[in-house]
Symmetry: D3
């Protein structure tokens, strides 16, 4: 008769029996343009009760897989490094217990911490990145740790040619030049996923979805909206395809709830997370 | 020199000479997620003066057909059954006078009342339903009358295989199973309308447009937005195609104005209603 | 390191040891003007972490009193009577266990159910009502159960001259006439609380705060805002004064979060609830 | 059973029997800062159904006096002079028929047209102006007709010392200097209305309420909000006091609905208009 | 260490060395539906720092071309003709100095002034117009100068068959009839740009982008949104194609910032302006 | 004819001749609840053109005093210490040049940097702080540098009993206890400013206005709104009174524009800054 829901819909497994562990990393401390991604995991949990647990796309139900929702990390403000350290430590624990971490950002920088933890366990790790922005600057306003440098940092952790990037439509000229030698970057669209599938094979892979890869018409509530993006349907299909790889971790980032006047960006993020969880 | 408009643009016929009667059914009493569809008919009338009466798609003008705008029903709050009774009674009156009812919801449940009235006059009635949700639950939170059960109830009124559903992308697994025996359900998209056209032939048909079938990028202001929907252009073409059938009634539902921060959902609904009126 | 808060701040007592039981009654089914009060208890829990548990007004801390937050009732939609029955039943259980019910609405009608349950235990019950509206109609749009009739219904339950009303500045002429014989009604302001204190003495009393008694400048997010209301400071002082009576239950109602563009109404409601809990 | 309301609540008299004629002047063409006052009369009519027709302040009811709501003037855009001419002409007609014009702006400039029409009939006309701004510039951006010059123009029509101004808290230094010789200007507050009452006596008087005289906390939705204003209660009392004079016309202006996120400004304007109509 | 940016990003050339001169024409005085386009140039400058100066579509950078941002014209309010005169005069000066004017509206009417100035220098001028509305009325509410008549007026300046129109999906029947003899009008879509390219050849051409040609899903913040529009990608490609013509001036109009709740319309306009500047 | 304003209204002095130097410190990196104060200085400059330069309260004009608007500091993200260092350095430079720094935050933490710079020049410095929150925690979420600890840090810089606090109505119990020995703290209201005036005498004093001291009804757009605050008029009078002291620097902080749906908070902040500048 009484309800006090505090997990993402259908993610009611306990930690022990869970195959995947969902957690929030509510950090947006280096966001330069429109802050607020910190609110994403909390708001997604609340609004997730507006969607169904069943996916007619995949004919699967969240209630039939085992996901534990661990809640949000209590991250400090004012220091990016300290926040990243906590995320890395918690991701490491999940991995140590033989589970798959699924992180809800926060800004895209949080991906760096998760990748670092996973790289320790899986040395031949690949990353597939969906993003409107190249995120390949060496520094931004004098800082090495920034949402604009995160894939550059990830690249330094993994070594060259371990990252596939899709949907990129913004960056400095030098970032696109850096990409030529260091990542597989597909401008503007999602296509030729087979290339990634073939190169990666059964090696471990981390999927990171910066949701600003979506077109702002479908997903306006993000820190730095960029016209000309991909559609929900394209991203959903990509998740379904790549979910068949040996996915050892994944995240979605850059939902910024304060700019979601109509609520449709949060609803889309919830639906995409359901599809992602069911695809892995 | 003075204006006190209180009808939908171009619907200035009197009742006697009208072929179609437009009316509002401002009921949203079973909406569980985001209420406010009650405001749709009033707001559409007001905002309709932002569109033209002429359709360049159909090369027709609202001023050349005869539509009477009857205003809104004064529906009670707190009892779904009483509201449905009033809607059914008024629809019956319009039919008795040999006119076509065109209803603006309100939530989708209002369709049940209209269908019941029409079924009394046209026993071999078909229904064509555009909707993001299957709406085929048997009950919802213990209630038989709900926006989530409305097509199930309509199905019970009409008998099996009298309903065509398009654009459905959300529901419980059991709803999709129910659909297999009881409706013609097309998932995700609008396609193969010819099948409906052929089966229905010249039999009477009721068209119900739950506007949440549209993608939230084009139509955010609805109670339960679902990513991955159809476009205005697809829906407009469907109305143009199906308008050639023997349409004996129709409705549009689930516009929820309080969530229309930019006003484009209301504007789209007005334009779609113009196209629908001109198509029938 | 991880947080998954799902109670109102500082209300972390267990049921057994609790003196007060907080619960949500998310019903707004008879709201005629602007619905959305259903979202109030959930949103207040979330936003309560923006205030402190310590009150510098009372020099007390929520962490030092025992409040259990039971969560929200799962109320049905489409039938006011069924919703009221569930509220009455749950209130009865709290009372049976010797605890004080503290309810967060929902619309003001929910007060009727709580009062009915309490009247069964405390026959000589008084009610003190803060409200912009008289709520003394006999029926509204043909319905006996409505947010506009609730105090009339409460009056019928308690008998004449058992209700004190403050801050009332809206109603039909006949409602003010009814008040003359049946309630103690103070128009516009809060004053002469001593009269109530003296008449009630140590008899049991229920406090109901329809937050629309506040001026819309301080509290805009309500279903039917009425200019010319009382201030937060006046209401806070009233709660502090009346909290010294033999309070056997209380509620706050009519916060409507969808209309809280700036978030200050929710924040005020959280702060007022803290003061109310600490005053009793 | 059906409603198609298109007048302000309770103003359902016909023209013949009406003592007062309410009309909208939806012009905001010289607004420099935040346009949108054009939407005020239409939105006020719609939202007026959220208030009661009965005033507990005055113990009177709109249904007991005779007001005809004439709707809105169809004013041209792009030329202030043409718009003013139409307003003047319509006001003249109302006066010729022996009725009292009550105008809803629109920006404050519309007052000039009404005053011109009334001055033709009542040569010894006084004006009482409630306003945050002096509106006494001689020109603004090279224009003589502007919301910033309107009281200067009115002053030229009436001659010196025929205007009382209250609540003024913004203007250029030269405007305050001009006021010393030409108007009775009270800075910041409403006080000493007796002075106006005594000087005017039983001479004809026009009341103009630029609603930005109110504090933005109570009334945010206006073109140029100015902190430090008067309260609804103060303005309501002023209307009650001055309504006893020989009022031959009045207006309320500068409600700008697009900036009313929470809807409380429109609601306040409706309530004030009710009080104003009942006071005259 | 300090920033006080007041030009569009990357447009930091001085006037002397500039090839293009960017300026704002913040006029929306004839807008009938939703005013606010006056705020567009200022808001675009501010928000332009959220995009990059480099275009991965064109592999060019704003910092490598010479654009001077002249700021906004101080246009009068209350008289459309005076505003147009100032725009025409300033455009004339830019042309006299051998530079290309790039104007940010304001409403679409401002295009008339720019075209008039350019026509004086280039007698065989063509215009290419992207617009949801035909804008071919002879007058609107009695006015010859209006956002609804602007292309009709331009047509009168240039003579018949000098204007290409794309994306038009709204207008009166008579406007479409007028277009048959006087413009090359493509309904609904952008296609067959080659026709325009071939007919115009190396003659001078003015490009005017009424941004309401875009679908409201991508661009909601405009005075009169019309469902069924073109995409950013289609418009961007059109600009890239037509930029190779002999472009002697261009504008973008009808961004209306007050209706951009999520900020994505302004961001899109900034990105489109970058692409347009880099295409010419 | 052209305008490209990029300074606060009326602050058009050059650096050399300026007595006061206005600058923005757009840092909000430790804000835990609602970020966005970073946008305050830029938005205040833009919106300042909605107020007059003349104050009818003080009968003074911004154009008659010498203020240079230096623009905003380019502060790094992700490290509070680095941001504070830059603010301290710039404040130091202003002081070295014999001018008075006037800072627009950003969050309240920026005050610490300014005070540190000023303390180096004026060893017997006093601080007067208007704030809803005590800001006297020793650390917050493990961080010493936070908007919740700023006055504690300032206290450590200045020594005990050098700070006067007004309007404080929120904090932990321990903060109020700390205040007893270390600051002069007035709860809830502004009163007895004479005490501060008498104790400080002609010693140097820094004024810091955390605008959340204002009641949320007048000032909703702040990171952590607290009901029960002071009014604009009270704060304005305090500034006028204290401006007569030997003010060697001042700031206003915690305006958070993204939560200013109606724009009235920004407008109030602009008007208060005008009064503050004219009072010193």
């Amino acid at each position: 008769m009484l309800s006090k829901k505090n997990c993402f819909i259908g993610c009611e497994s306990d930690y022990q029996s869970a195959r995947m562990v969902l957690f929030g990393a509510p950090f947006d401390g280096t966001t330069t343009y429109r802050p607020g991604a910190r609110f994403a995991p909390k708001r997604m949990r609340e609004e997730s009760y507006g969607i169904e647990t069943y996916s007619p796309y995949l004919n699967k139900d969240l209630e039939d897989i085992n996901v534990f929702d661990a809640g949000d990390l209590d991250l400090p403000f004012g220091s990016a490094q300290k926040a990243l350290d906590q995320i890395q430590e918690f991701t490491h624990k999940i991995l140590s217990d033989g589970k798959i971490p699924v992180m809800i950002g926060g800004e895209h920088l949080v991906t760096l911490a998760a990748v670092k933890a996973i790289k320790r366990k899986y040395d031949d790790l690949y990353v597939i990145d969906f993003d409107a922005h190249a995120d390949l600057r060496d520094e931004y306003l004098g800082e090495k740790l920034s949402h604009s440098t995160v894939i550059r940092r990830v690249c330094e952790v993994l070594g060259p040619k371990k990252i596939f990037q899709y949907g990129v439509r913004s960056g400095e000229k030098s970032e696109f030049e850096y990409a030529q030698d260091n990542t597989y970057l597909t401008k503007f669209v999602i296509k030729d996923l087979e290339q990634a599938v073939n190169i990666i094979g059964d090696k471990p892979v981390y999927l990171t979805f910066d949701l600003d890869c979506l077109d702002p018409s479908e997903f306006a509530a993000t820190g730095t909206p960029e016209a000309g993006g991909v559609s929900f349907e394209e991203l959903r299909q990509a998740a379904a395809t790549l979910g068949k790889l040996n996915v050892v971790g994944c995240d979605i980032t850059e939902l910024c709830p304060p700019y979601d006047a109509s609520g449709v960006s949060i609803a889309l993020a919830c639906k995409f997370l359901r599809e992602l969880l069911l695809s892995i």
